[in-house]
Symmetry: C2
Subunit: 615 residues, 2 copies
């Protein structure tokens, strides 16, 4: 398209953004209007994309990091013929595919959910890394950011990493419209301020007037031909560009234009231009799942093995069986044991350094491209990426997250390193799977089975050694549990997982010596939870005692209760969890101080049984 | 101290770090040894600090952002005479004040808990902002960072903000020892790489050999006299400096030295130098709590007011009554309504732009200095700062967090903007208080009462209007609840809070018309929870139905269950929560689709009552 046509197209995108927001009675037309020229030029002259085949491996990828500018995206879809006029005007209405912020659950051309700012670029880095190091199909990744969101640290984690990895297939466009939600940004229209920062991190930068069609055209050409480093186009724009009533004015964020009809007239009226978007080059996916034999590690019953070791060894084995498995780590691979995978599959290992938001963003990017990522760090440090995990679930991304060093059982390092809130965080994620194995064979089997699941899969591993109690052929269905002690005389049921499972077994043996029989359930699948087995145990024994190396809120105890919130009668319940603030101490001292060791379990059980007798 | 003395002192810090870790059998001596010269010079010649009066308002503040180098900190305390030899060797043992990572709960000279990397600088920015804009006592804030942690985006949020705020009272020292946990950092010993980045953000930078005592001495002198911008000393160091067996070697992270005795000999043996740390200048705290009259806003019963409005208005009023209240926001003050406070108390308002980790870090820094911070953003976006909140609770920092736009009730914006996991996150935080008001008067009262609490206080507010149902003089004790409907014929109890409370009331009225009486409890205090009232309602009505605009895991429903996990009989339970992935729709449509509106509540209640009849 030539200059005049591009200008017309940009005006159409503005008009359609205004119309969509007007029809919805809400939305972000002004944030769309600032970037309309950028989007028009990208769509018409630079993006290679087959809207009929969004999964085409040669397609460029486009990420709208400033997700609130969704009217612009949908206007572009309309211009490309992907959606029609009628659908555009369903924006933000019940049942519409055109949500307030774009989500891949509904729209085939959206690959990652945005709307929480500062996430598009880390995900873009993941896609670009997949493109460079795995897919080899030559696509570019275009990420459109707002200027406000450059305040998010996650952006700079990604900026650093993209340059470090020489991702010249990654192009960021920043719509510098100088106005955030409630007022001016820190740097206003000072493009140099942004350029200095990006340059310092090793990026190629281009500054441009974002409404000068020819200049933007040249800028996009320049960044497309830049090699060896990622590029950023810093575009000076005006929020609400083209409509005097809102242009460059404060207080106009996130609302329809005061007079849509007048605005449309001012913008030259409704148009119906169609863009022929360039087709992608022919390309083939290279990562067809290899049908290799899965030869999981096997551990002998009675051996003492940390579950984190089993994670690393199982993942390395899985990597041989499946060519689509990749591992990502936050510079703690020697602790999480992702290093076992690294050693055997260095080409599918991605070091993200100490940047957990980036790490999860990269995992999402890999998942978007069809890879099966396992991202690992300390369980505690996944809290750093909580918002990324939340957004990944909104987007339906399939990622495995593996948190090591769970609970106070880590010992001397103290509370900053203890994952004590991770189960609560991961359980509350939509449609997540949460697993907490207690031995090495169980861990290995669960690592293998999570590869085939949907959504967020969380596996919690432990630092210290645990005795192997299951044979290597034992099966552990997701949503299942194992009844490890049971008799007709059981007076109560102890429910545990991970380190506390072993404490529960010890307690059960002690109690048995004292003539008190208790049932013990290994609740390795914390979500979904095995309602049937729990319900049956409750009916048989009348009382449940849950024990977890986690805060009392949101963890295993609450997971057990899930089985009893259906209106049917509920058993008596007692919960043991970490209620104190631990300091430094040995693992055994920690478990004892928190009241979740065998002695504490046995004491609580005796109390419950005696109470029942009294009743 | 002169060059020779400083060198000796540094060697002592190394030796004591080695000894502490050897006695503990764990810890990070090599990460301590790299920074020993830096610490010695700071302590002896630059820090102004009265160890007998850690609360002295004129004290410089020191933050060990690389918290794993705690042996170095404790060795410095010993050199300053604050702790003795015997205590030093209790490092990492049960009951010792000298934890694996320093925490203020145990040590009076530690102000903020570290150990999760990348947090010391954001908190340091908060302290420095307090120093510049509130305390006016002229102290400097020294933050010792590792090089690995510069990969964390939170660091760059703080770097950006410190320069923007011209914090020349803030000095960062980076111990560039080139080795992270599992291997080399991205930039190794390339100090220029770091300098370029800091400079681009507007910092004064000094590069120095971190083992050249005279050079470091000069560098510290230079940064102390720098005005108008923050400074960073980038120090090239060697991990494990001084002991050939570990110096600059990979694989030596986080473990005692292989031969401590030999290492101590190589370092010149045990010393017992004492440092006379410079006293701070006389200074007075300026923020004595003003005893002003608290004139909270008053809302008329029946009016429709968003609880977020009440938050802003109540906070503005509280700001008049208390001179120590400060407000912090993440560039959404027009949404959270923190703008009301801004308008009346601009000097105590801190804009952190879209950087939630920075925002919470600043809040912690303010709390450290005795201020009472209220930090607000969308409930959903506090997930961004989850790790900061976790660490704040470890450090015992008293901060108020206010999350607006709770739940699917926000309507059209869609799931990325909905706080649906915030209650789970905040409840799992150690010693937290979690409040969820349903009307404006209740909100105002709760805002006022949280100012006097300890630890993390979370207040959840709503976007849309809610009818005022309480009078302005009604009291709402923390840990309480309100029984809003009750009769002798109640067949079940509906427990709700916030928007669902109003739905519950509507449902109760509908049911009453149908001859079914139900009790309704407003559980505004989600944590601590009102066990007595819940237990009594359960005993009287036999069945509880919880309704929440939140995921079913970890929220109000689980909070209610807390009242019944003490081994006593449990009522029948049914839970309504957001189990779907919402899209865009009106608030009413959202509540209906999620099954938490009045109609859904009434239907569930009827089912439960009929079931009970069948039984």
């Amino acid at each position: 398209m030539n200059t005049r046509q591009l200008h017309e197209l940009a005006q159409q995108l503005r008009v359609d953004s205004v119309r969509a927001a007007a029809a919805a009675g809400s939305g972000h037309p002004t944030s769309s209007m600032s970037a309309a020229d950028l989007m028009a030029i990208l769509l018409a002259n630079h993006l290679r994309y087959d809207f009929d085949r969004p999964a085409h491996p040669g397609n460029d990828r486009f990420v709208l990091s400033k997700g609130h500018a969704s009217p612009l995206l949908y206007a572009a879809y309309k211009a490309a013929g992907a959606i029609n006029e009628t659908e555009l005007l369903t924006f933000r209405k019940l049942g519409s595919r055109l949500e307030g912020h774009p989500t891949p659950r509904r729209l085939p051309w959206v690959e990652t959910a945005t709307g929480s700012l500062g996430q598009g670029l880390p995900v873009g880095v993941g896609i670009a890394l997949a493109g460079k190091r795995l897919d080899h199909t030559g696509y570019r990744v275009w990420v459109l950011c707002g200027d406000s969101e450059l305040a998010e640290g996650s952006v700079w984690e990604a900026v650093e990493h993209a340059a470090y990895e020489h991702l010249d297939n990654l192009i960021v466009i920043v719509d510098v419209n100088r106005l955030g939600q409630r007022g001016p940004t820190r740097h206003g229209h000072d493009l140099d301020a942004y350029a200095r920062r990006f340059k310092a991190f090793g990026w190629h930068t281009v500054e441009v007037d974002g409404h000068d069609v020819d200049a933007v055209e040249r800028a996009f050409g320049e960044v497309r031909s830049t090699t060896g480093q990622p590029s950023v186009v810093l575009a000076r724009t005006l929020k609400g560009k083209g409509v005097a009533a809102v242009q460059d004015r404060e207080g106009m964020h996130g609302k329809p234009l005061p007079d849509a009809d007048e605005a449309i007239t001012e913008l030259g009226g409704v148009r119906d231009l169609r863009v022929e978007v360039q087709s992608p080059p022919a390309a083939r996916m290279l990562h067809a799942v290899q049908g290799g034999h899965l030869d999981l590690p096997r551990y002998d019953i009675g051996d003492e093995v940390p579950t984190r070791d089993a994670y690393g060894q199982a993942l390395a084995a899985l990597g041989h069986a499946r060519g689509d498995v990749v591992a990502i780590d936050g510079e703690v691979g020697d602790s999480t044991r992702a290093e076992y995978f690294h050693k055997e599959h260095p080409e599918r290992y991605f070091e993200c350094y100490i940047a957990e938001q980036l790490m999860v963003g990269v995992a999402v990017g890999m998942a978007v491209r069809g890879w099966v990522p396992y991202a690992a760090t300390f369980a505690a440090f996944f809290t750093r990426a909580h918002d990324f995990i939340r957004m990944a679930s909104i987007g339906g991304a399939g990622v495995n997250l593996v948190g090591s060093h769970a609970g106070c059982a880590i010992g001397e390092d103290g509370p900053s390193q203890m994952g004590l809130e991770d189960l609560a965080m991961m359980r509350s994620v939509y449609d997540s799977t949460v697993l907490y194995p207690c031995d090495a064979n169980q861990t290995a089997r669960l690592v293998a089975s999570t590869a085939g699941l949907e959504g967020i899969r969380y596996l919690r591993t432990s630092r210290g050694k645990s005795p192997v109690i299951y044979g290597p052929t034992e099966e552990f269905p997701i949503g299942g549990s194992k009844v490890l002690r049971a008799s007709a005389e059981d007076r109560l049921t102890v429910v545990a997982a991970g380190v506390t499972l072993h404490e529960a077994l010890k307690a059960a043996d002690t109690l048995a010596d004292q003539g008190i029989r208790v049932r013990v359930i290994d609740l390795y699948s914390v979500k979904p939870v095995d309602r049937v087995t729990l319900r049956e145990a409750a009916e048989r024994t009348g009382c449940l005692l849950t024990v977890e190396d986690h805060r009392e809120e949101g963890g295993l105890g609450d997971a057990v209760l899930d089985a009893f919130t259906d209106g049917r009668p509920v058993p008596r319940l007692l919960r043991l969890a970490v209620r104190t603030m631990p300091g430094s101490a040995t693992p055994a001292e920690q478990l004892h101080a928190a009241g979740i060791d065998a002695e504490s379990i046995a004491a609580a059980a005796r109390l419950l049984v005696e109470e029942a007798v009294v009743r």
